[in-house]
Symmetry: D3
């Protein structure tokens, strides 16, 4: 195995242009040639409390350079696997955002995801607020059906209020309406929320499996995975506020009592082994509320490890 720093550059993390994981930048969306394509979706007009997720893609990209040493891949001594070795990642930049225009901005995001899918790459979309999940799911309309797995503090299952149907409280309801979404697993949902009781009732009626963090801890990773249909195509929607505010303070609506790092990583690793993860969005990182940078680091760390496990699914099992 030869490492990048053996020839040429030492390439320390703080050096160089901030693409995701210092991957090549491909602004031409018709020329994507990769296993994984990163798309930024810096839209945050769907928020109901603190904005700032528009800077999520930049924050996550910069944090991701911390993990982008010149090694070929990322060695994990617990699994004894060098993840990411040989996985081709490209960064295709951001979808164009039009201020004051939610529908237009969402359409541009959808176009980006469609371009990635057309190229046969795994789309990994960096939000933006959770409303950007709506165009991401729309882009799968011509794909094989998917089961949506959400990590989140909030149910996000509001149908409509004051005419709003495409805000960050609505995406899971919008997804559940799609014929190509076969079901939802909603993990981490807890406490006070923007969704009222009727939303929970509707979600359950439309087939959602809703589990809180405490419930998931009581069940254990294996039992939780058992509740997800096996052998499916999974779409992951990771709201960073699914994590505990202690490690993800940099978000619009922190909610105490959330997931810790390995709890989510073990579930994702399990899903990667149980079926095929075909799309990811990670949303609601707001760097302005993250003075120590740990939230952006968390986002980058979970994404890189998730991608690693997706492309080495048979080699490890969750501990």
């Amino acid at each position: 195995m030869s490492h990048g720093y053996e020839t040429g550059r030492l390439n320390l993390p703080f050096v160089g242009i901030s693409t995701f994981a210092k991957s090549p930048y491909q602004p031409d969306w018709s020329a994507i040639d990769a296993d994984v394509a990163i798309l930024g979706a810096p839209f945050d007009a769907g928020t109901q409390w603190r904005a700032g997720a528009r800077f999520g893609p930049r924050g996550i990209r910069e944090a991701s350079t911390l993990f982008s040493f010149g090694h070929n891949g990322a060695y994990d001594h617990e699994d004894d696997v060098t993840y990411l070795d040989g996985v081709r990642i490209v960064d295709i930049g951001d979808a164009d955002i039009i201020h004051t225009d939610t529908v237009g901005s969402h359409a541009n995001i959808e176009a980006g995801v469609r371009a990635i899918l057309a190229a046969g790459a795994l789309p990994v979309v960096l939000g933006g607020d959770h409303s950007i999940n709506i165009p991401c799911i729309n882009a799968f309309s011509e794909q094989e059906p998917v089961h949506l797995v959400q990590f989140d503090a909030h149910l996000d299952f509001v149908d409509e209020r004051h005419g709003v149907r495409f805000g960050h409280g609505n995406p899971m309801r919008r997804a559940a309406e799609k014929p190509w979404v076969t079901g939802l697993s909603q993990f981490g949902i807890r406490n006070v929320s923007s969704t009222a009781k009727e939303g929970y009732d509707a979600a359950r009626a439309m087939g959602s499996d809703i589990l809180s963090v405490r419930q998931i801890r009581a069940l254990g990773v294996a039992a939780v995975l058992e509740r997800v249909p096996a052998g499916e195509r999974y779409y992951l929607s990771i709201d960073i506020d699914g994590f505990d505010p202690s490690i993800a303070p940099g978000t619009g609506t922190p909610s105490h009592g959330g997931f810790l790092y390995y709890e989510v990583l073990e579930l994702i690793a399990g899903l990667a082994a149980r079926g095929r993860i075909v799309g990811i969005d990670l949303v609601e990182v707001a760097p302005d509320y993250d003075p120590s940078g740990v939230t952006s680091i968390l986002a980058a760390q979970i994404l890189l490890n998730a991608i690693g496990r997706i492309f080495h699914p048979g080699e490890v099992t969750p501990p």
Copy 2:
């Protein structure tokens, strides 16, 4: 059930004047008509390290608006209960504080709590440093006796040093001296503290039950509750530094190894079922040390959930 946003306003969290939970503001203390009355006690001259708790009431009030959607109550899917539905909360503003005058400021706080008690409402006092517990307890002199349950990193049981008897290291000693305080449960006490060994000896001699976080975890929620006299009237004094610095950095004297969110909520829910909670103060939130806002959010979240459980005590049991 009809929600506020069905008529009139969407009322997003970031919109509007910051009273606690966007409850009505009642500056006339002779006209309190509510189940719960919120009083700010922005006094922080009792601190021995970092000040700033004077902005605690404003910080908590603003954070509380996050949880103040137009729903009728707060639905908790784990308990399948819509808490707070029908609970009438008013915010009566702050006690008047006189800089350089501890005794005068405390007297004004005491007057506020007495006004709430006279109105038959539950007093919920937002500190301010922990010395404000002293006037809160004083205000119960004409009430039926109470058992004091403290959540805190520090024992706060110093009798007197250099003449200081009303600082934030003294309140539990002052409370223990009161005839109408029948006992103390001091939960979360740990590690290095402003109280020396003599203080611990005195506390135990005066009837305190002192438990650290590790001891409480070893015992479990149910066993801890068993140590609290059953069927009593409880007064809760929640020092935010009883929580772990990971979720409550915004306080004067953070102490590592503290409580997590649900540990405290489960104990409070248990107390609400085991007896009657008749007064609450939550102290030592210092927003200037809380750049991500998670400490103020924690304070608002625990208070709203505590109030919810107090008014639905028979409906749920701790998990």
Copy 3:
């Protein structure tokens, strides 16, 4: 003259609910009875760089409490005038904002300004981004004509791009189109901007007088005032980024080389003497970028002093 603290409360700045200048809160918009009415317009979906102006109203209100001692009015020893003595200010809260819906949010802001005008009070609107000037101006459609005086780094004269006509780069163009806006004085405009050359040409063609900070300094206050039509009704639109980033860092798009405090105050005092100021908006304060709070303090300080001079126009002249 009797002061508030002579009876009752000392009422220190950090004590109490944060309405603007601790003025009475009047949520009933049909019952406004005051000389001045404060309306929050926490809308920031019109921004093209950093958001966060949605917390402008709260930030300005809290900062304004610093200036709200129990005095009857604010004594200025340079002018030997006690401003604000007897001026009746009310805070009517915020316009309802609907996320993802610019038109609906703007309509709610317009309704608030119309209510204030109907009550015969001076509307002072706290943004929010500069797009909220659009509904403010709309609300004057039934009033006598106004001359608009803008303090800003940016011309904000974009007609339309990608369909956007109501973002924070458009308001001055929208205003110039209105029959009831007789002209514009655009002060502080400088350097790189979101408006291209065509916008400047259009502004001049539509009657704008555009002056940079350097040009205003070269002319002097008196000469600048001479360029504003005398004896008119003036509407002031104060973008906080018209001020220098040294004193107004807490905004979306700081632009170096801006106004200092007294430069703007002297111009406003001059306008108050030269005609009648009939409406004010102050926009683009973003507290999350203002860690020391000086931007919110600046906004509160300029507004309170402006109101003071409006109601004592004949008593002082700019130095």
Copy 4:
């Protein structure tokens, strides 16, 4: 001239214990042997808005290490003088502060200043809030009379409110009452203040010369100095909020329109030449509101340059 780094240590600013200017630490107040003695007075219970000045001494000490290279003295190329060469500075630590006890804390500060004066050294006191000027002035009761020169945004001339006579709004009134204070020059006073009109009237009646920043700029340095009695012993009380918030955001009550750095330095240099500066306090630095550290740096920079000019009064004249 030999420099410290020529022998032994390079002694970079960030290296070593933070005494003021890395001067020797002398905790024994009966053994002060120096030209200048630094005393910390970390008391901030006199504040009416933001606290935090208790950390002023530590903040200023740490910032002062930036200017403490191993040079013998500080060369100023504009004056062509190496200031501070041979001036013996010691740091005697902090006065003991007793929380909740203003009178006791003030007494301890007074004792420290008396010890410095007894040793024949120049006292330089680092606040704490402006109330600490009260014990500083008290300590001069047995000295030859002094003329007090204040740099401040606020008049601080409140006599008494709600029983408060020793808060940070009272010191200049307390000073004016002393027989050994022959007069006051109050520079920088501006805009909205905690002192009402009566306070200004009283100050003028008791002999104060009150000048705003704008008035001082209009007069010029020389004319301002002419208004200060010549050949006197001057006591300087520098409230950091006399400076503009642009360079001194880190303080409790920033007030826009303040002094810039050289404006104050030129006035102090002029005073050092016009008479004898016999005592200094610098107050209201609150590092928690100073995220970039520029306020503490300003305090250290003005103090070191002031001390330099005091000990080289004949060598330079203000530009």
Copy 5:
């Protein structure tokens, strides 16, 4: 037992010069007379991501004053022991650092540790980045052999890249090469790291025992301690990023999934009972990334508790 505040000063935490735990300052390295000597090593040019550890010693010293009440020792009610009673600590200041010169700076650090060892005191070195472990270990060349116990997220076992052998990725490799280092226990190592697989292989080949946080939790404290050779002399190297980012955000390279406070304290207490701890360094605290101060507080808290347990090894056992 007599406490400091019974005579003389109350000595609140925020008062006084910031030496470690307010211990006496001894700048003369030939005159160390103490049980424990604190040395600052403010060198951070060995970092590969965020710098700032140069301010670690100052940050830790200031935080340590929080735990430096006038008590004689620190009473821990869980162990019923008053730790630190009678332990003589001195602070010998910082090693001289020469910018752009790693070898020279390291030599100065080594000289400091050698001076402490020559005086028979326990060296406790405050980093700086982890490269400062290299001179610390060098200083033990004439001592009895030691077993190195590392708490860290990263293996730090890179041999050489681009000529770099003394950066913060190299220290454990450098230590393993020393004849007087008999073995390494590397605790907390996890996830993506600057060390590639070859480094892990080399570490294991050279005798390292590598355990992740999850592995240590699965084993339990007692079983982990069993893997450390009994009865040895232990050198502790504590990288603050061994702790979880939730409690240690203020560091250069936070890594999620780390240790909590008591996990490390229990292991250290166990080591203190199992053998003799003869040296400690605590590295990578970067206060500029620690806006709430919790990381510096953690460093001070773990060090003071570790020192306490070292000098009372037989009195307690880990819970």
Copy 6:
């Protein structure tokens, strides 16, 4: 003139990968084809106080996107010129930095500048600390001679101390030694500095013209320009601390009394008209000390305006 947003993307500032001014990224240094090439030099081991300038290039790049609307060029209404129209800028990324190795890192920076010069483009280098000026100047060894114009608070003319010759206090001395540097104009130098009197003497002896900010204000722009040799090739070295801390707090060693924005821009515009600017470095931006982002914005704003004026030298004159 056609604008970018007329076809394709609106391209708001917060959207997209952060290259300088969103210019094309050219990682192949042998294929530079542009008028201007941007090189990052993220080296900060030369600092003597606060580090963090390693993140300067990323901070400036991100801030520069604020000024990168889809316009063709930047219209300045005061000059009535659309600057930058048609100027081809590329971003060639960063020089490789090797931690603990100053000489090696500097060599990599020199290689980058040489590549730009070989391509015939104007090198604009983003520091990093001021030591990176040393390799920049080295790279001009084969070019026609240059006159160096420095904007800085500090003289940076130390020859050698403790063996250090390539730190951030040495660059102007290193430059003055070069045969191809014909002279130095050192503007903004003031107050306490790391350079002792001997350094000033040496600088003057070697031909430097040293002017403070106050001296430059007294002279006026035109007179200052007269002191710079006319018709020369100028190399600009802009230390951001030449600016006032009020607008440039985000730097290692802020020094009060510095330049304001237009003062420097007018001098640069004058130099662009008086001769030919053939190289620029802008150093010491440390984003971690710049919580509001105004320092990075200042750096981007002055660079973009400087480049604009360099390529339109005959069209405007300083006001």
